[in-house]
């Protein structure tokens, strides 16, 4: 089996990159908007990264835009599942093969305005996020 295709174990850590300019992380508090699906990019689910393939939180942040600053929220797959939030490996992305790429299919572009999605966003931000690391600034090219 190719790297990144295997199911995500309950004890796996997941990363979610958060632009510092959005203020979605301020005064030690993470906002639900950090987990809001984008109407074009998150058609099949909200993107997260598998720590075992990505490396450190810093490595995750460095995948952002040059010159921009990011925080990285850390979650555990099993915690999400306990609250009914699925997480699946999706290494095939429009940009190419990325073994670290995973998705939360229940939070997607199609249902981004539903009560359930808004509640799940809040659950992820306020209960399930283990910690937030950063800020990390991507060097300008």
């Amino acid at each position: 089996m190719k790297d990144g295709c295997e199911p995500i174990a309950d004890d796996e850590l997941l990363y979610r990159r958060i632009p510092a300019s959005s203020d979605w992380y301020q005064s030690g508090q993470l906002k639900p908007e950090a987990f809001a699906p984008h109407k074009k990019r998150d058609v099949t689910g909200l993107s997260v990264s598998r720590a075992k393939y990505r490396g450190t939180e810093h490595d995750e942040a460095m995948r952002g835009r040059p010159g921009k600053t990011y925080y990285v929220a850390v979650l555990r797959a099993g915690d999400l599942r306990r609250y009914g939030i699925e997480v699946v490996a999706r290494p095939q992305t429009p940009e190419g093969y990325d073994p670290a790429h995973a998705e939360l299919p229940q939070l997607n572009a199609g249902n981004r305005r539903t009560d359930e999605t808004l509640e799940r966003q809040r659950l992820l931000a306020e209960k399930l996020c283990l910690c937030v690391k950063g800020p990390f600034t991507v060097p300008s090219t």
């Binding site: 632009p19 959005s22 906002k31 809001a36 209960k127």
Partner: protein, 163 residues
Amino acid sequence: MITVEARRFMSPAIQTPRQILGDMAVTALDAQRKERICQAWQDLIDQKLIEWGRCPDKLADEGVEAPSGETIHLAIQLAELMKARSLQPPTSVVPDPNGGIVFERRGVSIVEVIHIWEDGTIEYQLYRGTKLDKRVKLPLTTDYNDCIMRYACEGWMRAYCRR
């Protein structure tokens, strides 16, 4: 008989600020409080909303669209309205990833949100913990003053209604 006996030990009624300080002092305190609220709203408009409109590139990122001029204009209108009514300022204002703007006011056990979506829809949401307890769309066609007073009547808004 028992009731009469008990009354002897009851504390006197708690005095209101008006009784303690007198009407003039209360008016002064009220004016100060309103001024602080007004300033907080103005700072939000000047330092955040107008700034987003001037430099949308600062917000834009992969998967994050900066709010459009129309959405920012709507947010400023709303902020001006709430400022004029001396409503408590939000504890945070952030963009959503699709070009919307979210006003949030965090209480002890509730969180109130006014969400301006990217298409101009405005919603009031009330959360108890992570549960969405109330969600009301504020129609665009009606005057915002009426909508806010009519629909968003809990906590944040109720504080205004009581005055």
